[in-house]
Amino acid sequence: MPITTLATVQDTRMLTESVCKMVLFSPELARLAKPGQFVHIKCGGESLLRRPISICDVQEDTLTLVLERKGAGTQYLAERRAGDTLDLLGPLGNGFELPDGKLLLVGGGIGVPPLLYAAKRAKGADAVLGFKTKSAIILEEEFQSACGETAVVTDDGSYRLHGNVTVPLREMLHRGGYAGVLACGPRAMLRAVAEVCAAFKVPCQVSMEERMGCGVGACLVCVCETEKEGERAMSRVCKDGPVFRAEEVCW
């Protein structure tokens, strides 16, 4: 059940030129939050809508969020400083299912952060993280300490492996031993990951993104076309998702 609460900013730090890490004090949300869920944050100024930000990590009394400064709303959030308060609605969405057994986490760009909390809650995980370029890399050390193996790829080859996430993904799935794949990132990446997982017959969950309104499932704005048992539907990313079984998404 979602709650609205005021959370105090404890710490903020820019991880890259445009990506901001923020630690918020909110014992209630920290207790409720599951991996893959998000919070909907009120922004100031002329931004009427809240901004959905995935939960990157949870400590005892705090939530860690990692967000990309894109427009006025996220700019407002990135400008908050320790001691400021933010109006949060959450935790929202279904979150990842964490099956027993080792998981393979596949993240692309700003889709990487929500996988960190999943890595910490999973019974063993490896990760494949993809970024545009070296300067866009975030959370590499955190994944290295939470996961057995962490492969990093860059689109331009400026760091570690050159290419996209499906290259190490194939190799690791070929080696085997994974109970499932959890993926979050751009739609094209998710689609490619879903195809690879289907070929290896490994269950895959994808976390989808869409422009959002209410955040709680009432306004039907953030939909994703799905097909389940032969029935096509416009599923709500905020309520039925953001995590969907890859085979149910109409790519």
């Binding site: 059940m1 979602p2 709650i3 609205t4 009120k42 002329e46 931004s47 009427l48 809508l49 809240r50 709303g73 609605l89 869409e210 422009r211 959002m212 309104g213 209410c214 955040g215 709680v216 499932g217 009432a218 306004c219 039907l220 704005v221 953030c222 939909v223 994703c224 076309e225 096509r232 539907a233 416009m234 309520k239």
Partner: protein, 303 residues
Amino acid sequence: MANLNVTFAGVPFKTPVVVASGTFGFGREYGEMFDLNQLGGICVKGLTLHPRLGNPPPRIAETPMGILNSVGLQNPGVDRFIKEEMPFLKTLNTNIIANISGNTVEEYAEMAEKLSDAGVDIIEVNISCPNVKAGGAAFGTSCDAAASVTRAVRRISRVPVMVKLTPNVTDIAEIARAVEDAGADALSLINTLLGMRIDITTRRPVLHNNTGGLSGPAVFPVAVRMVWQVRDAVKIPICGMGGIMTGEDAVEMMLAGADIVSVGTALFQDPLAAIRVTEGIARYLEKMNIENVTEISGKVLLN
């Protein structure tokens, strides 16, 4: 404590604040967050005779103090609504207002019959949806078409009929009069204003549907003006809406001529907005020493 009771089109409302169609689903989601019995009423998500998947995303674009939406009437159809949602809604102690859209006059009438039987308190006839090709606003922009839909629904409905007007017309008072003459028991206004945003990098509209309906505080002054114009043109009661965020906004809308008000887009920022609006109205009445909320309706003092 001021008296917030209003009798609207013969239906008792314990408060003059309802939630607007399309912003509240069928109530279940917000029902997890507050007691729905505190509401004057719930206008449910727009229904059609057959299920609709709606438009592809993106369905929303933000604009200063407003949003554009183009959901396109995604809904499970009137039959599934009655079977799956009405049993829950009937357990609530608040008015249930069913919002209906048809492709033809006959579809409106068929839905009105089914929903009257199902026990809704009011039927809101949507002749103003800007996001569907057939029906919707096509009926709301001509006096003759608006009147014929109203007549057909009024003939068959056993509950009060409220007609929801579009602001996308030259003279809203003229449409309001035509609908009143055709037998409407009440009016609701305004639906969204047709708008458009373009991504200048890709040169593509932000909304997949290209255009969408503008709501939120950005439309509030337009809504107040139209409620005032319609109040002057008809005798039937008005549910006023369009960008209400606070109790003060609601009072302003009532002074312009609304008997009750509807809160919609504000919910996206504050899930408890309808409750806060209700509290704000009560505070205003107490501060001004006004006993009954009904005393302020239409009481603007013109210059």
